[in-house]
Structures are given as C-alpha cells and as structure tokens.
Symmetry: C2
Subunit: 321 residues, 2 copies
C-alpha cells in the first residue's frame, strides 16, 4: 500500500467506517480525522474512528497523502476551501459523494493544481453520525472511481488499491455515467421511499397507528431507506437534478402504464411485469449484492422473544362455544 497517511474530513457513517476499516485492514497506515461539529469530534475520539482527531480540517490534512472528503455533496466546496492551503503537493483528494459531476467540478475549481480523483463507495445503512460507522461496511461493495480527464494513472491506481484494501470491488467510469446509474439504483429509490412514507403519514382515512401496525405487508421496507440522513439526501437531489428527473420521468411513465392496467382490469400486463422482475432479484443475490435469506434474513421477532412464542398451554381457552 503506497498510501501512508489518510485524512478523513467528516466523521459520520462513511468517514467513520473508512477510519475503522483502515485501522483494521491497513494497520501501517496513519489515520487523521476532522469533523466541523465538536460533539462529533468528541464521539469520534471516544470510538477511535481515526488515530488522531484534529480541531481543524487543515491540521488533519497536513502530511496526508490521501484526503477523503466525507461530507454531504453540498458541503464539498466549503470543505475543499478549508484544506486547500494545507494540502501536501502530491496528495490525492477524493470523496465519497453520491453524485459526481458537480462534486468533480467544485473540487477541481477550488483545488486547481492538486490531484483530485472523486469516488463513490456504494455502501451504507440508514444510520448516520459518528456512531453509525463500522469496519466492514465496504466488504464486497462496489466503489466507483471517476477520474477526471487527464488524471495521472499512477494516482488513480493508488486510490483503487486503497479501496480494494478496504474490501471493496472497484469500477471506474466517467462522472456523467455514474450520475445516471446512481439515479436509478439509488436516488430514485430513495425519492420514492421518502414520498410514500410521507403519503402514508398524511392520510386522513388511515391512521398512523394502522400504518405502523400493518407495515409488515411491505411498507416497512421503504421506511428503512426513508430514515436516511436528510441533509445528505437533499444535497443529492440538488446536485444530481438532471439525471434524477430523467429517471423519475421514466419511472412515472411506467407507473402510468400500470395504473392504466389496474383501472382496465388488465391482469395480463400486470402478470407479465410481475413475472420478469423476479430474475433481477436472483441476479443481485447471485452476485453477492444482497442476503440470500428470505426477508433479508430479518430476525422477525421482538428482540429476545424468539423462544417466547406462544405454546398451546398458554393460550386462553376458546370463548366461542
């Protein structure tokens, strides 16, 4: 591993996981961390998310040959300004943002003359903040590296090596294509999930308590994604607007077709769609991108009560006859 010191700016789910993953998988590599929230810095120090936690972004990046910005995409430009003067001349500056075109432009502008190679590890959970990270978050997940035109291949290779060392699979593509791919595999799913959870919360005919009780019929799956960090996701939609709108309109057109099929009682159109969507699930499981167990392997009981299932003797006697 040619990287010797990694600076992590932003110590939430992604930044914290990188810090823990480096300490586990690359024990010879130093980790320096910074977050602009003092409470997050304190918690990061308690959890040892990085070996050293600094009081300024500039302090954190001094001496680092790899700097990773782990802040919401709307905060990338400000973070870049904070580190610009303290950066080592040959340091790679990368990030973990979920949209890449606007981030690449912002970083390249602010950090002109530095080696900027944006990246996006496609990994996460619905949790956020300094308690959310864990060392294995990137195992068997893909990290997309989006080198700008003219990037030094040697530096790109260093970044690729780094992510592979954390357990990730790496693919490179241009930022435009990244933004289109992620619009469909991540951004639209989040938008839909946030929206349906909002719809269900606002109904006058169905109570919130009913929505919660009967959520195991499918709705609860959407609430997980809709519990993701609001700032991060607002920024994604502000920064990947064109690709999101393009994919959203494709989805809306398809949904209008299904609406028409329901209205017309056209079971054939429904059956055709519902049959062919099964195979993509099988592929995702086959390619190691999801748990093969039914229901994601959920422990579908109240914690600690798995063995407290009712037994015949415990049931109150029938009162019906």
């Amino acid at each position: 591993m040619s990287v010797r010191r990694v600076a992590i700016i932003g110590l939430g789910l992604l930044g914290g996981s990188i810090g823990l993953a480096v300490q586990r998988h690359l024990p010879g590599v130093a980790t320096a961390g910074y977050d602009n929230d003092p409470a997050v810095r304190r918690r990061a120090a308690e959890r040892a998310l990085a070996e050293t936690i600094h009081d300024s972004a500039a302090d954190a990046v001094r001496g680092a040959d790899l700097v990773i910005l782990c802040v919401p995409v709307g905060a990338m430009e400000a973070a870049a300004r904070e580190i610009a003067d303290a950066l080592e001349p040959d340091a790679i500056v990368s990030d973990v943002g979920s949209s890449k075109q606007t981030v690449a432009e912002a970083l390249s502008k602010v950090l002109e003359g530095h080696c900027v190679i944006p990246a996006h590890p496609v990994a996460g959970t619905e949790d956020s903040g300094p308690d959310a990270g864990f060392a294995t978050l990137f195992h068997h997940r893909w990290c997309i590296v989006t080198p700008p035109a003219g990037a030094d291949p040697a530096q790109v290779a260093r970044l690729v090596d780094f992510w592979e060392a954390l357990g990730a699979l790496v693919e490179t593509m241009d930022p435009q294509h990244h933004d289109l791919v992620l619009a469909v595999t991540s951004h639209i799913p989040h938008l839909i999930a946030y929206t349906i959870v909002g719809t269900a919360s606002d109904l006058e005919q169905v109570t919130r308590s009913e929505v919660i009780k009967f959520s195991a019929g499918g709705f609860r799956d959407f609430t997980r994604i809709a519990a993701s960090d609001p700032t991060m996701w607002r920024d994604v939609f502000l920064h990947n607007r064109a690709a999101v709108l393009e994919m959203l309109d494709r989805f809306l057109a398809d949904l209008a077709l299904m609406r028409g099929a329901i209205q017309a009682g056209d079971g054939e159109t429904m059956f055709e769609l519902f049959s062919r969507t099964r195979s993509i699930r099988r592929s995702i499981v086959a390619f190691g991108q999801d748990d093969a167990r039914p229901d994601f392997g959920r422990k579908d009981h109240v914690a600690g009560e798995e063995d407290a299932a009712p037994e015949a003797g415990a049931v109150r006697p029938g009162c019906g006859d």
Copy 2:
C-alpha cells in the same frame, strides 16, 4: 382451543406456514391439507405441512371445524365451490387473502348458510410455494379479521383465539377499511417496487449488469418485494382496484410535488419531508414490526466469507508510484 381440526386449502407460503404453526403451537389440533397442484401436494407431504394431505379439497374439509382458504384471491370463489358440499354445518370458513371486500362477497355468495369469517394475516416473505413456509411466520405479526355484519361473536372469538395461538396479534375491522389500509401499507409498496424494477431493467443508458452491481445504493431493497408471487399480486390489484387507485393517486400527487421541488432546486421542501419520515421508522421498530438492527440486520457479505475480509498482507502492492 375450541378448534379440533383445521383444513388448509392451498399449501404455499401461507398455507404451509399455518400447517406448521398449528403442529407446533396446537399439538392437539388435527391438520388436513390440499393443493390443486399434485407436485405441491407431494412436496407438502414430504415436508409434513399438514398431518394428512388429501387428493381433493372436499376430502380435506370433511370433519374440519375450521377451513382456511390459502389461495390467490382470484381463486377463492372456485375453491369455495369445491368445498361447499363437504363442509360441516358448523365449520368456520376463513381465508388469508390480501383484499377482503371482494373475497367476503364471493365466499358469502357461494357458501350461503355457512359461517364465513374472512381474515388476513399481514405476514410473508418474498418466497412462495410449498418450500417457503415456516412455523414462526405469524409471531408478533398482525392478523386482521373482518367479520361480516351479523357474524356470530362466538365464532369470531374462536377464529381470533386460533390466530393468537399461532403467535399473531389480532385486530378486527370492516373489509372496506381493511382494503384501504392494506392498499397503502402493502399494495402500493408492491406496485411501486415492481414498477421501478421493471424501469431499471429496461433502460438503454444503464445496463442490467450495472443495475445489479450498484444495487446496494437502495434499489436492492425494492427487488425483494418485486420477487413476490406474480399470480397472487395480479389478483390483489384486480380485486382491490378502487382502494389501490385512490392511494396511488395520493402518492402520485405527492411525487409530483417532490418532482417540482427537485426541478426548482427547492431544498427546503425536500429537507422538510426527509426529516419527518424518520420518526415513522422509529415507531415501526419500537412496536416490534421490524428489526432494529441497521440494514434490517442483513449479513452484508457473501455467505461464508465474513471472516475472509481482506487483510493488509493480502493486498497487492501499490502500483501507482
């Protein structure tokens, strides 16, 4: 338990789980099963989904004081016709269908004079068929019982007792309200999931392989639901049309608002929605309707490789400098 013999018509995920659950929790109660597919009957016998597997629905229901129809809602009427002449006079006929108004009407018409009490256990996985069932499927899940006007309270109580004995929580409501509640907590989530998986499969700009690789960004969650049984779901949308269209139009209106916010770069509207959707997730977890662990507690690695995470020594040396 006042029920002595249960007949289960249809031995897929739900029917099989009922058979296994009765054998576990109500060992004194006899179970008789039937499925109209001979291959399913053979497999059901191998797995002992019921103590006896019969070659006709009529044979299965003879002597049963509780009959549960576990077939797609579009097949309920035909199943009712098959059993009508063999039913015991005081038997309760119930079902597990995901829509209740049309089922209640069909069963009451065909089984006039018999005690029909429709019900719907809100539980399941994406798997289907005689291999999918398991005895604990109903633990801590809600079962909605929808007694027709004038139903004998004693018979309703027997059915409630039965479901509670299998580990379920029971609520009674009228079928119209059930259909509206389930439209939002189950049917619309399934429709959305099927549709977005279809959209993602059909894009010319993004390959199917990319969709699979980068599905951990959120998309993979939707593929689970979109792997559910196509016949069952076609029937749900054919039978709960009005409530589904009503809820779908609410969702579409909300999605149009979010589309407008994205187009206008209105971060405040997005942030407001993305912030308030978190609390409903917390309630679902607090009320025991989902796994509290991040990411549903997914084992987010390739099976068997949890301990094979890359170590520093195993990484190829940096090739970049």
